[in-house]
């Protein structure tokens, strides 16, 4: 069996396997958790990023016809990854990776936000995963913070001449952790009432740690794996997306 066909079957299998969980093991903020004014505030933060993502997608796809399949691949991958529950035996809980580290590196953070926005909308509408009123907050935590944290970490490490796999790993790790730190901020600000912000924030963040610490490592490994795989299979694509420099591929 040739490699693309095998990859096709593996990815299909991965997609189907994401369909098996019966209860939800989600991390997105559920419908109704945030009060209206906070939900509206997070929508307000998310809208400019989504608009910029749409503009970037239009601009890049005008000049590069190979870009749309890449966006399609990343959108499907993020959708699958962000509803794939992973049990964490040390904590006895389940959660899922975000995938925005990978898309942030490959598509750039702006388009990654857009891709996450679409994935989160489908999950909120049809999978009872997240919520429509909390869509804005979930876009900010998973889309904006995940994508930008992954992208900035990767770029910073690559400019310091860190190995591609290690930079990918760290980008995935920080994208995951940034998502959960932001979720803690959103939740704290929404539910704290008159309580001091920091004490509740630390409580929530510490409660996330047993699950998200190992899951971040998994997300890092996954991100590194995808970046290295693409480097081997389609280095030209990574050059075009400015993930690699042409001289790095030619060397």
């Amino acid at each position: 069996m040739d490699t693309p066909r095998r990859a096709f079957i593996y990815l299909g299998g991965l997609g189907i396997s994401a369909g098996f969980p019966a209860p939800l093991w989600a991390m997105h903020i559920s419908e109704g958790i945030l009060p209206f004014h906070w939900a509206a505030f997070w929508f307000g933060i998310a809208i400019p990023f989504v608009a910029y993502g749409i503009w970037r997608l239009k601009t890049i796809s005008k000049n590069d016809i190979a870009f749309k399949p890449l966006v399609g691949l990343m959108a499907a991958a993020i959708f699958i990854i962000s509803c794939m529950p992973v049990p964490v035996p040390m904590a006895g809980t389940c959660s899922h990776p975000c995938g925005t580290g990978i898309s942030g590196i490959i598509l750039g953070p702006a388009i990654s936000v857009l891709v996450a926005t679409v994935a989160l909308l489908i999950q909120a509408l049809f999978l009872a995963h997240g919520g429509f009123s909390t869509w804005g907050a979930n876009i900010v935590s998973m889309g904006v913070m995940g994508s930008f944290a992954g992208y900035i970490t990767f770029k910073a490490l690559r400019s310091a001449r860190v190995n591609l796999a290690i930079a990918g790993f760290m980008a995935g790790l920080f994208a995951d952790w940034a998502t959960y730190i932001t979720t803690s901020v959103e939740l704290t600000s929404g539910i704290r009432g008159d309580l001091p912000f920091m004490s509740l924030f630390w409580k929530i963040l510490i409660a996330f740690i047993p699950t998200q610490l190992p899951l971040g490592v998994l997300e890092g490994a996954m991100t590194a794996g995808v970046v290295v795989l693409l480097q081997k299979k389609r280095p030209d694509l990574l050059v075009r997306m400015k993930v690699l420099k042409p001289e790095e591929v030619a060397a």
Binding site: P23, T93, A207
Partner: protein
């Protein structure tokens, strides 16, 4: 011949490495899962164990989703369907992107073949 032997060597090394990883994961699951099961009796998601727990403590309850698919086996079907479609789309685009040889990039960044 040497190249073939070398690629077979690296192939078997990869298989060994994958087998080792799978064994470590299975072992850690079998060792640690009793701890997890004894503490909660199930595998709650962090939405339940963290987000909803703290929200409830502070007077915020989750509401029913706009389209409530969380009813019996319906959610299982929706997840299965979404996973299958997502997997197909990912595989389809992967095939489009990966079929054929990747063009070689010269030092100047120019593509030699498509």
């Amino acid at each position: 011949m040497k190249r073939g032997a070398k690629s077979m060597d690296s192939g078997s090394k990869t298989k060994q490495c994958l087998f080792l990883c799978a064994a470590i994961i299975l072992l850690s699951f079998s060792l640690l899962s009793p701890l997890a099961f004894s503490s909660e009796g199930k595998w709650p998601g962090v939405d339940e164990s963290v987000i909803e727990k703290y929200a409830k403590e502070h007077g915020r309850e989750p509401k029913q989703p706009l389209i409530n698919t969380d009813q019996g086996g319906l959610l299982l079907f929706v997840f299965f369907f979404a996973g299958a479609v997502g997997g197909f789309v990912a595989g389809y685009y992967w095939r489009i992107l990966m079929v054929g040889r990747a063009p070689k990039v010269s030092k100047e960044g120019q593509q030699k073949t498509i």
